[in-house]
């Protein structure tokens, strides 16, 4: 049957009943089901063990995209020229690819569960960071009324599944996170160390007494207060209980956080996940920063090496804590960087057309999604075939260029274990990239 894509979607959506419903359940695009590109028998429900997420994110616009798998072998693309960043062949699962040397030296067991998605972020300014976090307005609040940040979306959906203390995400860096419209405070590892310094002896007994008194006080106050006051009391009392419930071994981990370096952000993140505080934690791993004037791309080199090392350290820490199958790691920056050689003392500029989201986790099928093509005077992410994950030039993929960010987010949501039905409620537009999702 030769059905145009447009007609197929128009006639098949729900009106055809079975196909539409099956698509909704499995999360597989109707197009793929009808076209026979996915064996219906294989289209199992892949809502497996839900994951927590460590998201490394920044408004710096790091050149993460310039030296990752999928960025090599394209004429005119200028990868980092340093010898320590030499193009090196590597395997991502069954997929052979090329990347800068630091990536190739990562232990294979991590690479075998990592995908690199080439997409666009659509914005070119640092202040647009929060817009990128809302997927340009496509990430929706739970009520469907107004935009929300993707961290907030994922956190609120995952919290009941992962059973965390709070639904709000948490930032251990400069990430400007908000939750359902409310700005969230960033907490640094050094602050956590102070906040959770353990008590003992009579000090602990006195604290228990105080808690009892505050509880009694709250009960009395709630008899008289306004809605706003009662809401505040409830929330603050709950917050206090959450503090008290923290296990001592976890408090000891906080005591070891000496500074706010990326490594200690990693340690703090792992501890917070062990505490089941929140399903989504944001940290910052520099990969070259806002490197307009990075002559010789030296800073890019140094921070890619250290950044990959930190990323690997995170995965190792998760392993040590027994969390490797319960936590997924991904990144989302405000934009990528230009890929052409600007020569002389110049580094790389902002590039709204190309960003790479890496996702590493249990439900990830390793590989490279999408690709890059000439765009304006530089390069941008191609459209994507949602089934194969191949980049399709000329915007002819079923995931068009302007929906690649949303689709990357859908894919992230799926590998976190969220059902497609929920993702469709919370992310408008885009579709999951099936080649990156394990189990298909």
């Amino acid at each position: 049957m030769n059905i145009s894509r447009r007609n197929m979607l128009k006639t098949a959506l729900f009106g055809s009943g079975f196909v539409g419903l099956r698509s909704m359940v499995t999360g597989i695009p109707i197009a793929a089901l009808i076209g026979g590109r996915i064996d219906d028998a294989m289209a199992e429900d892949i809502t497996e063990e839900p994951q927590s997420l460590v998201l490394f994110t920044s408004q710096a616009g790091d050149p993460f995209n310039a030296n990752t798998p999928g960025c090599y072998g394209v004429s005119g693309v200028y990868n980092n020229p340093a010898a320590s960043m030499a193009p090196t062949q590597m395997m991502l699962g069954d997929v052979q690819t090329t990347a800068a040397k630091p990536w190739a030296e990562v232990p294979q067991r991590f690479l075998d569960r990592t995908t690199f998605i080439h997409h666009r972020t659509y914005f070119n300014t640092h202040p647009a960071y929060t817009k990128v976090l809302t997927l340009a307005g496509s990430a929706k609040s739970a009520g469907g009324n107004g935009a929300d940040q993707i961290g907030s979306v994922l956190s609120s959906e995952l919290a009941p599944l992962v059973d965390t203390l709070q639904s709000e995400p948490l930032a251990l860096s400069n990430a400007e996170l908000s939750f359902q419209g409310r700005a969230l405070q960033s907490l640094r590892p050094s602050m956590l160390r102070q906040m959770f310094a353990p008590l003992g002896g009579v000090e602990l007994d006195l604290q228990l007494l105080r808690d009892q008194t505050l509880d009694d006080m709250n009960v009395l106050l709630k008899e008289q207060g306004t809605h706003a006051q009662r809401a505040w009391l409830d929330r603050h009392a709950l917050s206090r209980e959450q503090v008290r419930a923290i296990d001592e071994t976890l408090l000891e981990r906080f005591a070891m956080l000496e500074d706010d370096s990326p490594m200690n952000q990693v340690r703090a993140a792992v501890t917070l996940i062990l505490m089941k505080v929140t399903p989504v934690i944001a940290i910052q791993i520099p990969f070259g920063g806002d490197n307009h004037k990075d002559a010789g791309l030296v800073k890019e080199r140094d921070e890619t090496i250290s950044g990959v090392a930190t990323w690997q350290f995170l995965l190792e820490e998760l392993e040590t804590a027994g969390l490797q199958d319960k936590v997924t790691v991904a990144n989302l920056n405000v934009f990528g960087r230009t890929l052409r050689n600007q020569g002389g003392s110049k580094g790389r500029d902002h590039n709204l057309n190309h960003h790479v989201m890496s996702i590493c986790g249990k439900h990830v099928k390793a590989g490279v999604v999408g690709g890059i093509e000439p765009s304006g005077n530089d390069y941008g992410a191609m459209s994507i075939d949602s089934v194969t994950g191949q980049g399709v030039p000329g915007d002819m993929g079923d995931i068009v260029r302007d929906l690649t960010l949303q689709s990357a987010a859908h894919t992230l949501g799926r590998v976190l274990g969220l059902p497609q039905e929920r993702l469709d409620e919370r992310i408008e537009g885009g579709t999951p990239i099936l080649s990156a999702i394990g189990g298909l």
Partner: protein, 668 residues
């Protein structure tokens, strides 16, 4: 048995409970989102260096309002606040001081009397201190670092050995807040914050401004000597001789044979008694600055020098010390040209002051550049070629932004805000949301901002954020009444505060349109209010100081680049609760039984009264006074069974008071 129930005190039969933690029965399984619409402001504290380069300002103008990122939750029905609660809220926000019995009685008897009380509160020194904090943050003056200040002297980013006295950073941070306060105190139109050339400065700051006024690549040689003076100089050389010869006597042989430099980022710290030589990092000498030069705050008028006018050199400390005017080539004007503002909003060659311009508009007018602003500029001079195509999305903002950034481009190096050798040949103009004017320099930019119709509403809104941790609805007739009153008063800021803080917009005493769209909040007590309140009530300072102070973990008000909405976390969290536990415990140990402290374990009765009436701000007439007093007394009695150390007992009572809803919230 250790515990007594407060319920038993309130009239039920006496019951003793085991000390079981977490017995609060009023909890829901997970807190509901409170459906706030605080916008998407973010936290930019910390490392700014990655934010500096190459961005264009103003893309997210439409992203700042409540409607862009609201929670989608329905607003809870409005319930009016009681006088006890709103009196405490208003006085805490304005002064940090507790409400007195007399004041509470007055408000209960006649709620209209709140306005007179607020007027009185705005005349206190505590209010002045509050406003200084508010102005420092709201005018974006608070993020000076060594790197972003030395670049204004040096013309590049390397800090080298720039090592001025720390008081210089404090001076630069505080200057404009003090200037703004002076405008308020003198009853001058608040629009002068954009036009004033009468700045509060110290001698040290004046020296810095002069040093930053010249091309950083040019400088005259200075010699610091001890045993090897230049010809004609010696240990007994007068100050005038030293100034005239740029040869400075150092009363220590740490400079032998001598130290010579023409680089002002070395010379200026040296004039503060700091030379980059072992043993020379803190010396006093008659010709260099003394402690008083960092605290001699006074109003100084900035005067623009012509090309042939003499400039008082930055090293002529005696002349600067006695000067009431300061001649500069750069026509610094208003909040947006202070070293502190420029340091916070770094630009670079690519960005070319667009961020600086946008932030100036956000501060003064509460509005960022927006591609939907249809105002046509006078011309397109300064419009960069990259954004000159009217069919691109960039054009909508850049057509207005680029000619306006020329006000800064004319005077400063775009990478470092250091002075230019010659003014750039550009023709700036102002065009923004219906207002268009031509201009020559920064003073014209300031005039255009001051005259803009957005000014009044922007400052009403800023105070709404201060008061309510969220915006007021600008369509609310009450908001409009206050805005118009501000204009009619001649932009009298004190009158604006009085009107707004006695308005139901802030008190919640009656319903307004704002309460229908933005659920009335009880907020956490964020860091600035928390610290100031505690210091005021305890008559102590420095309770929150120090980088390692756990108070630094408390949420605070901040402004992000490009956002007209401040970052203001209002809801409690696990981390807020943990912070308050640790902070209050720390303060308890610093306060109890200290000399002159009102909290003495030898006077438990008086200390408990102080905790209830002052720290918790519950005077005897407050309906919650008795409950709180009983709670503390019972706690002391129970604690005494655990330890005979009265100091520890009182510390625990303090922590209880400090972590109670009456201190951890604003609006209870």
């Amino acid at each position: 048995m250790l515990r007594r129930s407060l319920r038993s005190v309130s009239g039920s039969s006496l019951a003793l409970l085991l000390a079981v933690p977490g017995c609060y029965s009023g909890l829901s399984a997970s807190p509901e989102a409170d459906g706030l619409s605080a916008g998407e402001a973010g936290d930019e504290e910390g490392d700014e260096e990655g934010d500096e380069a190459g961005e264009d300002a103003g893309d997210d103008a439409g992203d700042d309002g409540a409607g862009d990122d609201d929670g989608g939750e329905p607003v809870a029905p409005f319930q009016p606040s009681d006088p006890e609660s709103y009196a405490r809220k208003v006085k805490l926000l304005l002064t940090g001081e507790p409400v007195s019995e007399v004041e509470l009685d007055a408000i209960r008897t006649d709620p209209e009397s709140l306005q007179d009380l607020v007027r009185g509160w705005t005349e206190t020194d505590a209010f002045r201190v509050k406003m200084l904090d508010f102005f420092t943050v709201t005018f974006h003056q608070e993020q000076i670092t060594k790197a972003n200040i030395v670049s204004q002297l040096r013309g590049d980013d390397a800090t080298g050995n720039f090592n001025p006295r720390n008081e210089l950073y404090t001076n630069l941070t505080e200057s404009f807040a003090r200037t703004a306060w002076g405008i308020v105190e003198q009853g001058r139109p608040f629009t002068e914050v954009a036009t004033t050339r009468r700045w509060m400065m110290t001698t040290a700051m004046m020296s810095f401004l002069v040093a930053a006024d010249d091309d950083p690549t040019k400088g005259q040689q200075h010699t610091f000597y001890h045993n090897s003076p230049p010809a004609g100089m010696g240990a007994g050389s007068s100050v005038a001789q030293q100034v005239a010869n740029r040869a400075w006597y150092v009363p220590s042989n740490c400079v032998d044979p001598s130290y010579t430099s023409n680089r002002r980022f070395f010379v200026l710290p040296a004039l503060m008694g700091r030379l980059p030589a072992a043993g020379c990092d803190n010396f006093d000498a008659n010709a260099v600055m003394n402690n008083g030069d960092f605290s001699d705050w006074r109003e100084v008028e900035l005067v623009t020098l012509g090309p042939d006018d003499d400039k008082t050199p930055y090293w002529d400390i005696p002349a600067l010390r006695n000067a009431a005017t300061l001649g500069l080539e750069i026509p610094r004007t208003g909040f947006f040209s202070t070293p502190a503002f420029l340091a916070k909003w770094r630009s670079n060659e690519d960005n070319s002051f667009r961020v600086t311009t946008n932030q100036a508009l956000i501060v003064a007018l509460g509005q960022s550049f927006d591609d939907e602003d249809g105002t046509l500029p006078l011309d397109e001079s300064g419009l960069s070629d990259d954004h000159a195509d009217p069919t691109t999305v960039c054009y909508g903002c850049h057509k207005n932004l680029d000619p306006m950034r020329d006000f800064f481009l004319k005077e400063f190096d775009p990478d470092f805000y250091s002075a230019l050798d010659e003014k750039a040949d550009v023709q700036p103009s102002f065009s923004f949301f219906g207002e268009v004017s031509e201009g020559e320099d920064l003073t014209d930019f300031g005039q255009a901002i001051a005259a803009h119709p957005f000014f009044a509403g922007a400052w009403v809104q800023k105070l709404c954020f201060l008061a309510n941790s969220q915006e007021c609805n600008p369509d609310d007739p009450e908001f409009e009444r206050i805005r118009e009153g501000f204009i009619a008063s001649g932009y009298d800021f004190r009158e604006l505060v009085i009107e707004l803080f006695s308005s139901p917009l802030v008190t919640g005493a009656a319903r307004t349109m704002t309460h229908d769209t933005n659920e009335f909040l009880v907020s956490i007590n964020r860091k600035a209010h928390m610290c100031h309140t505690l210091e005021t009530r305890l008559s102590m300072t420095g309770l929150c100081n120090g980088n390692n102070n756990v108070a630094q973990a408390a949420p605070e008000d901040a402004w992000s680049r490009g956002s007209a909405t401040p970052f203001q976390p209002a809801t409690s969290s696990l981390f807020y609760a943990a912070t308050m536990d640790a902070f209050c415990d720390r303060v308890a140990k610093a306060v109890v039984d200290e000399a002159d402290s009102p909290l003495q374990s030898t006077d438990m009765e008086g200390s408990l009264r102080f905790l209830v009436e002052v720290v918790m701000d519950l005077p005897p007439g407050d309906s919650r006074h008795y409950m709180a007093r009983t709670a503390l007394e019972d706690h002391v009695e129970d604690a005494t069974l655990l330890t005979q150390n009265n100091r520890i007992v009182l510390e625990s009572a303090f922590t209880l008071a400090c972590t109670s809803p009456f201190f951890t919230s604003v609006g209870y």
